[in-house]
Subunit: 148 residues, 2 copies
DNA sequence: AAACAATATTTGTATATACAAATGTATGGT
DNA sequence: ACCATACATTTGTATATACAAATATTGTTT
């Protein structure tokens, strides 16, 4: 991926600006591949993230705030993400009896099934995206990302 | 920025998956800062990108396809981005006389003014975002990004 | 020249997201 | 108990984006 080719410029871009453009281009590319990978399963990246968080709960329900604080999206949209998953029977939602302001969300076996199906494909996809990296370079890359 | 802290997990994440999550988190952070920086000027990141492409044309008009191929967004949305800029008098749009299917878009002096105003602030912002990087590390980071 | 294909852009629509306000519930002070 | 405040979530709304179809113009074929 060459930045100058993609944005079609012949001018020299300052290193700082180039880095941030580069980052965005790479992120877009990765997102496109991810969305396309999930498309056959009818879920978006964010819906997938919610499902994984719920699976991580290992049968304990999660309330909306818990889900939300582990994601990048805003609270109001987390509600709507759960709505979508609910419509597909991938989660169940009920009001918490101890504190009726809260809602308890749990992944269903149908939701777990679809996640398990995706797991293998996702690992393949990740390997493909990162095939040009050595383990050493991946670690190095993560170290650099930590500087942001 | 520690990935495990942000997504609040205690589990070991496989290096490949961790890398892609890390990338997304960093990109989100950078985008947030950029949007916030542009907010006082009333333009979005994408609108800003269009303006810069137009400035790069150095008085020659650009048609929609030209703008679009230098951006990540889809054609139909480029139309709407230009609509927004038109409403702010940052660009003018007219039908190309040689080929009436095409439209010619040019940045106005008002558009140039706002870009010039933003230039300095943007450089400051970039420095701030990348303050923990040495020049050497930035180059290294770009080399790694090229592997995607 | 009429018909068809190719090109350039726009419009319609569904989904996604950000931000502010509204709703419903619980808690602490008086 | 009453009231203000805090908390948890939802709803409303504007903007952003993806995808498909529609429109308008030009180029090509017969």
């Amino acid at each position: 991926m060459n930045v100058e080719d993609i944005i079609r410029t012949r001018k020299e871009i300052p290193l700082e600006a180039r880095t941030l453009i580069h980052l965005t281009l790479v992120n877009n590319k990765v997102n496109e591949i991810m969305s396309a990978t999930l498309k056959p399963f009818g879920i978006s990246i964010q819906q997938f993230n919610v499902l994984r968080i719920l699976r991580g709960q290992e049968n304990r329900p999660a309330n909306l705030s818990t889900i939300n604080e582990r994601m990048v999206t805003k609270m109001s949209n987390t509600t709507r993400l759960v709505d979508k998953l609910l419509a597909k029977d991938y989660v169940i939602r009920k009001i918490c009896p101890q504190n009726r302001r809260k809602v308890e969300i749990k992944i269903t076996s149908k939701g777990l099934d679809v996640l398990n199906e995706i797991d293998g494909i996702k690992i393949e996809m990740e390997k493909k995206i990162l095939k040009k990296f050595t383990k050493r370079q991946l670690k190095e890359f993560n170290v650099l990302l930590d500087k942001f």
